[in-house]
Each structure stands twice: as structure tokens, then as C-alpha cells.
């Protein structure tokens, strides 16, 4: 066990140091991550006018999309594109000859990057909230702790979902298309374009049986105070754990099958 602790410490440290070399590039990616919620906020701001849309006034939209920005930054999943490239360009080989699975490198990468950028996003939010009251959340550390837990679970779901999709690179060259497809769906079902309650009820029901809300909407709703009852909390966390396990199992399955295929057709 201590071996793994030391391994992760070393992996996260390496990833952190590499990230230190790319401040401008990381900043640009953060700008990119802000634009989608910013544009959505602009449109809903215009639609809401001086009234409300389904219970959300302008200020509520501000809080919602700031939360989306933060949680999104903490749950981004980019590994599919790396795996795709590694398989195509033979950079998977040396990773496969190491005595640990490549997934640990990816997890460490995620931890380092998200500590850095999530922290930056949080600091920025606090800074903006200092002179824009609309961006302020009600003081509730208990809720914030639950939101943090939900964010970690959400990041896990999104990670294994992305990684498993990326591993399909063993079979197809269309991994980025698959990621784009899921990304497009999550625009609605994860609550990136609007709170889930804005969608037609039928769509919301469909979303409820899929993993999308648990990847983003649930932690966001905790932060903005849209989760009220204990039952809602239990339902949300249970869903998160269930989908985390499901996608982790899928990852394990695809990984073993994928290795067999890779060994057969090479890379």
C-alpha cells in the first residue's frame, strides 16, 4: 500500500512540474472553458430580463453558471484524445512495458491539473464575488463540503467514461467523434447549457437514468442550493456511486479486451 502511495506522490509531482512549464497554454484552456458558460449566461441573462425563467432570476443564473464553470474545470476529461494519439503513434508501447498500468499516470495527471486549474477557478470566483454580489453564494460550509464530495465523484465518472471511450482506439480511429458525440449530449443532459429543470420533462427522465446529470449537474445543484431534501441528496450520491462503479467496470472490461486486441494487431 505504501508503495502505491509513493508511486502516486511521484506521478502527481511529475505532472505538477510539467504543468508548471505551460502557464500560458493552461491559461488559454481556462479561457476556453469559461466561454461556453459565459455565453450561456449572457443569453439567459437577456431572456430573463427583469423577471424570472422557471424560478431563476438573473442573479440565480449568474450563480448557476459560475458553479458550472468551477465544477466543469474540476471534472474535465481529456484522456481519450491522448490515448487515441498514443495508440496511433506507438507511444503506448513503453507505457505497457512498465509494471504499472498506464491509467495511474492519467489519474495523477488529472489530480495535478485539476488541483491547479480548479484552484485558480475558485480563486477567480472568490475575487469576482468580492465586487459582484450576484456571484456570491450563501455561506454554508456543510453544503460546500458535500459539493466537493460530489465533484470528486463526478470527476471519477467522467474520467472513466472518457478513458473507456479512449480505449476504443484499439478498435476504431473515430474516438474523437465518439467523444464529441457524448460531449454534445452532455451539453443538455449534464446541465451545461441550462439547469436540468429547463428541459422538457421527458428528456429529464431520460437523463435521470443515464450518467450525465451525475457528471456535472448534481454537484452544481448542491452548490447553488437546488438540492433541498435529504432524499434528494441520497438519490444523487447513490446515482454517482452507481455510475462510477459502472464506468470503472466498463473501463476494466475494455482495457482487458483492448490489450488482447493490441497484442494481436500491434501498434
Amino acid at each position: 500500500m505504501r508503495v502505491w502511495w509513493r508511486r502516486y506522490a511521484a506521478l502527481v509531482r511529475s505532472a505538477w512540474l510539467v504543468d508548471l512549464q505551460y502557464p500560458a497554454a493552461i491559461a488559454i484552456w481556462m479561457v476556453w472553458n469559461v466561454t461556453e458558460p459565459a455565453i450561456a449566461l449572457g443569453i439567459w441573462w437577456s431572456i430573463a430580463g427583469s423577471g424570472t425563467v422557471q424560478g431563476y432570476a438573473r442573479d440565480d443564473f449568474v450563480r448557476y453558471f459560475f458553479a458550472v464553470t468551477l465544477i466543469n474545470q474540476l471534472t474535465l476529461a481529456w484522456d481519450a484524445w491522448y490515448i487515441d494519439r498514443w495508440v496511433r503513434e506507438g507511444e503506448l508501447n513503453f507505457r505497457l512495458t512498465r509494471p504499472i498500468s498506464p491509467v495511474h499516470e492519467a489519474v495523477s495527471d488529472n489530480i495535478a491539473y485539476k488541483l491547479r486549474t480548479g484552484g485558480a477557478a475558485l480563486v477567480l470566483w472568490i475575487a469576482v464575488a468580492c465586487f459582484w454580489p450576484a456571484a456570491r453564494l450563501a455561506w454554508d460550509p456543510g453544503r460546500w463540503a458535500l459539493a466537493a464530495l460530489a465533484a470528486v465523484l463526478a470527476a471519477g465518472i467522467r474520467f472513466f467514461n472518457g478513458y473507456a471511450t479512449g480505449l476504443l482506439a484499439f478498435w476504431t480511429t473515430r474516438v474523437s467523434a465518439l467523444m464529441e458525440l457524448q460531449f454534445g449530449i452532455s451539453l443538455f443532459l449534464s446541465g451545461r447549457i441550462a439547469p436540468l429543470s429547463f428541459l422538457p420533462p421527458a428528456v429529464v427522465s431520460v437523463a435521470g437514468v443515464l450518467w450525465f446529470p451525475y457528471m456535472l449537474a448534481f454537484p452544481v445543484e448542491i452548490l447553488t442550493g437546488a438540492v433541498h431534501t435529504t432524499a434528494d441528496y441520497w438519490h444523487g450520491f447513490a446515482g454517482q456511486v452507481a455510475w462510477l462503479v459502472a464506468w470503472w467496470l466498463l473501463y476494466v472490461l475494455v482495457w482487458h479486451r483492448g490489450l488482447k486486441r493490441y497484442g494481436a494487431v500491434g501498434g
Binding site: 511521484a10 506521478l11 511529475s14 506507438g90 512498465r98 509494471p99
Partner: protein, 326 residues
């Protein structure tokens, strides 16, 4: 003494899509794709003893890298068995991987933006090398390869030769029994190549590791390997000691000249066997031992603008030397 590496009748067959050139062919492939079977490795068997250095020699696409990948556990053979350090490579798991190291000549394993020291420390954690043992090996390798001044520079600032030295160090820190090197001297200048070869010989002598390397440079073989395996078109053509191979090889050297004035092919033929003649360029073969003498006579007798002495290309050597075998 059980051999370190055993390969028995290894076979590897790929299915590859076939496309005709040009716009018409591209359109046809769009509608009706065709496949072809490529036998990358065909019935290759050999044994490597502990502490040996063997070189797999052959032209590009001969099957050397495929064989190496099978022995490293990255590929499953279509047929045949193998045993490396007592394990079947493709089912060996973490225990097997701790006993081997793979270094690829054209693929980077070091962390690009950080000093090589960072990669070394990372490997220490990944391979779970006990700290005192790590320090000992680390210092030994740094000394052997002269890495002192390089340790704190980011890898991207190092030259190709320096990077390869660091790659080797990173690969050897966990003390592997078997070292697989795929084209380790690819793209390096002569000094770096010699330096790598010298290191490998010293390392093997001191630590008794078994080294399997692939190359298409004859010089790698002559400098390093006690034994050479020639692979061409997936088949093992020759497996034996180096000096015996040299005797069988084409006993010629190739002289390439750029001629001045109007030198005819006949005039040139007086100095050796003319292989090609396209004025002003020409190549001719002369017996190996006479190469320098013949060049001197050439330079004295004919107007020569440029002259160089080469080994005949490895593809030709293999073709002419093993025409009977294949």
C-alpha cells in the same frame, strides 16, 4: 544454465488493407476495400544465453522490431512460444516487466519538459526500487555515461545523443535482466554511437545483463555483438558468431565518385567492378583490403571531384550473401 531468452517457431501474420495508387485507386478502395496477409515474422527460433549481447540485423521492415516486441510482451505471436527470464512475455504481468527494459530509438520515454533526474526519480517510484539501491545504480550509471552536467537541464535542451544516454539510464535503474533495444543508435552522430556502444559493452560486462538489440547499422553489430541474427522478410537467415558472418559477407567495399571531365565507364572499370555509371556520378566495388589503395590510384589517375568509401548497403549484402538461402 537455462537460457535467458528462448524463441520457438515464432510467427506473426497481419491483415493489411491494400490500395492502388492515384485518384481512381483511391475511389475503388472507398467502395471495395481489399485485404492482404503480411507475414511479418515467419518461423523464427533461437536461444540467447545469460549475459550475451545479440544483434538482430536486417533491412527496414524485415521483422526485427516485431520479433523484439513479441519478446517484450507487446505483441502476441500468431504461432510459436517464447520464454524470457523464465516468463512467457505476453502473460508475464508486472513481475515480468520488472525484469526487462525496453528502449526505443525513435520514441521518447523521458519527460520532455523536465530534467532527466525527474524521470529517474519517477522510475524509482514506479519500479519500487529501494532507495539505497537506486542511489547506487544511479550514481554508477551517471558516472559510466558522463551524465553529470546533463542532469539538471530539461530534456528538450539535450542533444539526441545525450537524450539516448538518459533514456538508457532511466531504463536500467531497476536493474533489468534483459534489455531490449530497438534501433538505439538511430539518428545519432558517430561519436554518440560509439559512446553508446562502449557503454553497453561495459554495462553488460559489469552487470551480466542480456542485451537484444535491433539495428540496420553494420557498425552496431561489429562493435558490440558477439552474435548476430540476420532477419529478412520475417525469416531468420543467419544465427551465429560475428567473425563467421564477416567471412561470408560480400568481401567488397563500395567507392562512390564524382568525376570531372569526360571519364568513360571503360576507363573507370580498370580500377574495379563498376556498379553504376551516370556521369558525373559513379560507384564501383573493390576488394575490401584494397579499398584505400584503389582509391589512391583512382585519385592519381583520373580527374575525381569527390570520393567516398562505403560499405555496400546492408540490403545488398544480405541479398547477395543469402541468395541461396532464400
Amino acid at each position: 544454465m537455462t537460457p535467458a531468452v528462448v524463441a520457438e517457431h515464432l510467427d506473426k501474420v497481419y491483415r493489411v488493407k491494400v490500395r492502388d495508387p492515384g485518384l481512381g485507386g483511391a475511389l475503388r478502395a472507398l467502395v471495395h476495400p481489399r485485404y492482404e496477409e503480411v507475414r511479418a515474422v515467419a518461423d523464427v527460433s533461437f536461444e540467447v544465453g545469460r549475459g550475451e549481447i545479440v544483434a538482430f540485423l536486417g533491412p527496414n521492415g524485415a521483422g526485427k522490431t516485431t520479433t523484439l516486441k513479441m519478446l517484450a510482451g507487446l505483441l502476441y505471436p500468431t504461432a510459436g512460444r517464447a520464454s524470457v527470464a523464465g516468463f512467457t512475455p505476453w502473460t508475464g504481468g508486472a513481475a515480468f516487466k520488472r525484469r526487462i527494459a525496453l528502449v526505443l530509438g525513435n520514441k521518447q520515454q523521458l519527460l520532455w519538459d523536465l530534467p532527466p533526474e525527474e524521470t529517474f526519480q519517477l522510475n524509482q517510484a514506479i519500479y519500487n526500487i529501494p532507495l539505497p539501491l537506486y542511489r547506487q545504480r544511479h550514481d554508477e550509471l551517471v558516472e559510466l555515461l558522463g551524465l553529470g552536467p546533463l542532469l539538471d537541464k530539461p530534456v528538450r535542451q539535450l542533444s539526441l545523443g545525450e537524450r539516448m544516454k538518459c533514456e538508457l539510464t532511466a531504463a536500467l535503474l531497476h536493474g533489468p535482466e534483459i534489455l531490449f533495444l530497438d534501433e538505439p543508435t538511430l539518428g545519432l552522430d558517430v561519436i554518440a554511437q560509439e559512446s553508446i556502444r562502449g557503454f553497453l559493452e561495459t554495462y553488460r560486462g559489469r552487470f551480466g545483463a542480456t542485451v537484444l538489440l535491433t539495428s540496420h547499422y553494420m557498425a552496431d553489430v561489429t562493435a558490440l555483438a558477439s552474435r548476430v541474427l540476420i532477419i529478412n522478410r520475417g525469416r531468420l537467415l543467419y544465427d551465429g558468431a560475428l567473425h563467421a558472418l564477416v567471412a561470408r559477407l560480400s568481401p567488397t567495399k563500395r567507392i562512390e565518385v564524382v568525376l570531372g571531365d569526360s571519364v568513360t565507364r571503360d576507363r573507370l572499370a580498370a580500377f574495379g567492378e563498376v556498379q553504376s555509371f551516370q556521369f558525373p556520378n559513379a560507384t564501383l566495388d573493390v576488394p575490401r583490403e584494397e579499398a584505400t589503395v584503389a582509391s589512391a590510384r583512382l585519385l592519381a589517375a583520373l580527374p575525381v571531384l569527390d570520393l567516398s568509401i562505403q560499405d555496400p548497403p546492408i540490403e545488398e549484402v544480405i541479398r547477395t550473401a543469402f541468395e541461396d538461402a532464400s
